[in-house]
Symmetry: C2
Subunit: 218 residues, 2 copies
DNA sequence: CCGTGGCGTGACCGCTTGGTCATATCGCGC
DNA sequence: GCGCGATATGACCAAGCGGTCACGCCACGG
C-alpha cells in the first residue's frame, strides 16, 4: 500500500513518478526492473521512493493493481448492455481487451509481465491475484452461459475457463505477430497504435468461431 | 556452442556440470540464474565454465537446445505409426508431451522459462527459435490434416496453429492446477511424478473434444 | 521568531552478479 | 624425467542492485 506521503504528492509530481515506474515495469519484469532507473527518469531522489512505498514489491503491487483495475473498468464500461449470448460476450470482452492493450501499451506490457512472471515467493501473490481475477471474470460468463443454455452442459467448467483464458491472454501474441506490432517499441515511443477495426474483427470472428463450434450446445 | 574442452570432459564430470546447470535454469529464468550457484553445486571452479562455454548465454542456449531436442525426440519416438487422423495426432503429441514434462520436470521447467522469457535482446533469439520449432511441428500436422480433409478448409492456418500451440503449451498449467503438482518441488526433489493415465486421458479427451468440434470438417 | 514535523536528498552500505586472468597442475609424447 | 600444451582454479574486478539514514530544507502554528 502507498504511504500517506504518496497520496499527498502534488499531482504532477505524482504523475511523473507513476509514469516513470510504469515505463520501467513495462520494459522489464519485476526482478529486472530497477528502482535507480525509475528515480532517474522521474527526476527525484532514490530515498523518496521509500517515503512513498514500503519497497520495490509494494510499488509493483500498486502498479499491477492500477493496471488491472483500469483494464477491467475499460472492458466493463465498453460492455454495451446488449451482447445477449455467451459468445458475443466473449467476443466483446476480447475485442475491448485487445483495444485497450494496443492503445495503452504500458499497462498492457506491465500486465503481460505480471501474468508470466516466474513464480518467485515474492511475486507469487501478485500474479496469483491477477490470474484469479481474470479467471473469476470468465467463470462468471461461463456459469451464466451454462445457465442460459449457450454452452454444452457436459463441459468441464474448469477446462472451459482455462481454454478461454489462454486464448484471450495469448491473443496479444497472435495480433503482435500478425500486425508486426512491437510492444517494446510502443512503450519506448510512449504511445500505442490504434488497431484497425476490420482487421481485429476478422481475427476475432475466426477465433470466436472456433470456440463457438467447440463449446456451444447443439 | 560448447568449446572443444567441454566435449573432452570426462563423462561423469560433464554430467555433474550439466545436471547442476539444468537445475539452476529450471529453478530460475535466464536473468535470475546464477553461474556462481551452478559451480557450487557442480563442485568446480567458476573459471571452468568459461573454458566450456563462451558465457552464460552460450550455456543457456546449449541447455535449451538439449531440452528441446530431447523432448521432440521423446514425442516422435512415442508416435506409434498409427494415429491416422489429425486429432488423434494432436492428442498423442499432447499426451506424450505432458508425460515428458511430468517425468522430466527439470527439462520441462527449463523449456517453460525459455517459452515465457521476457524478450530481452539477449534471450530473444533463443526463445524465438524454440517457439518457431514448435510452430513448425504443428504447422506440419495442420497442413497434413487440411490435405487429408480432417480440418475445415476455410480455417486460417496461422490462427489454427496458434490456437493449438497455446492450448498444448498451457496444458502444463492446467494439469498443475488440477493435480496440485508443483514443478518447483519436483525439481528440488530431483524426480518427477508419473502422471496417472486415466486422469491425463480424461483431460485430453475433454480438451481434444473441444478442439475437434471447433476445427473439424462437417 | 522559534520550534516542530513532514519531506527531499544522495552518499553510502552490504551484497550479488558475470566475467577475467595469473598461476598452478595435469597428462601425454619423447 | 623433461617439456609443453591443455585444463583447473579462485582471488579479484567493476558494475549494478535494493535499501538506509543523517542531514537540510521548508511551511506552518504558537
Amino acid at each position: 500500500m502507498p504511504k500517506p506521503t504518496f497520496l499527498n504528492l502534488p499531482p504532477d509530481k505524482r504523475r511523473r513518478f507513476v509514469d516513470a515506474a510504469l515505463n520501467e515495469f513495462a520494459l522489464h519484469d519485476y526482478r529486472a526492473a530497477s528502482v535507480g532507473r525509475i528515480v532517474d527518469a522521474a527526476g527525484i531522489a532514490k530515498g523518496s521512493v521509500y517515503q512513498y512505498f514500503d519497497g520495490k514489491l509494494d510499488l509493483y503491487r500498486y502498479l499491477v493493481d492500477l493496471a488491472a483495475e483500469t483494464k477491467f473498468r475499460f472492458i466493463d464500461a465498453a460492455r454495451a448492455g446488449d451482447a445477449p449470448d455467451f459468445f458475443s460476450q466473449v467476443r466483446q470482452a476480447a475485442s475491448h481487451g485487445a483495444r485497450f492493450d494496443f492503445s495503452q501499451p504500458r499497462y498492457a506490457s506491465l500486465l503481460y509481465h505480471a501474468t508470466y512472471e516466474p513464480s518467485t515467493p515474492e511475486t507469487l501473490e501478485v500474479s496469483s491475484r491477477l490470474r484469479a481475477a481474470s479467471h473469476a471474470y470468465l467463470r462468471g460468463l461461463v456459469d451464466a452461459g451454462l445457465a442460459r443454455g449457450d454452452l454444452r452442459p457436459d463441459l468441464d467448467r474448469d477446462m472451459t475457463v482455462y481454454v478461454l483464458y489462454q486464448q484471450i491472454v495469448a491473443l496479444r501474441d497472435f495480433l503482435t505477430d500478425r500486425f508486426g506490432f512491437s510492444f517494446q517499441d510502443a512503450v519506448h515511443a510512449g504511445a500505442g497504435l490504434p488497431i484497425r477495426d476490420e482487421e481485429l474483427g476478422a481475427v476475432l470472428d475466426e477465433l470466436v468461431g472456433i470456440l463457438r463450434r467447440g463449446l456451444e450446445l447443439g
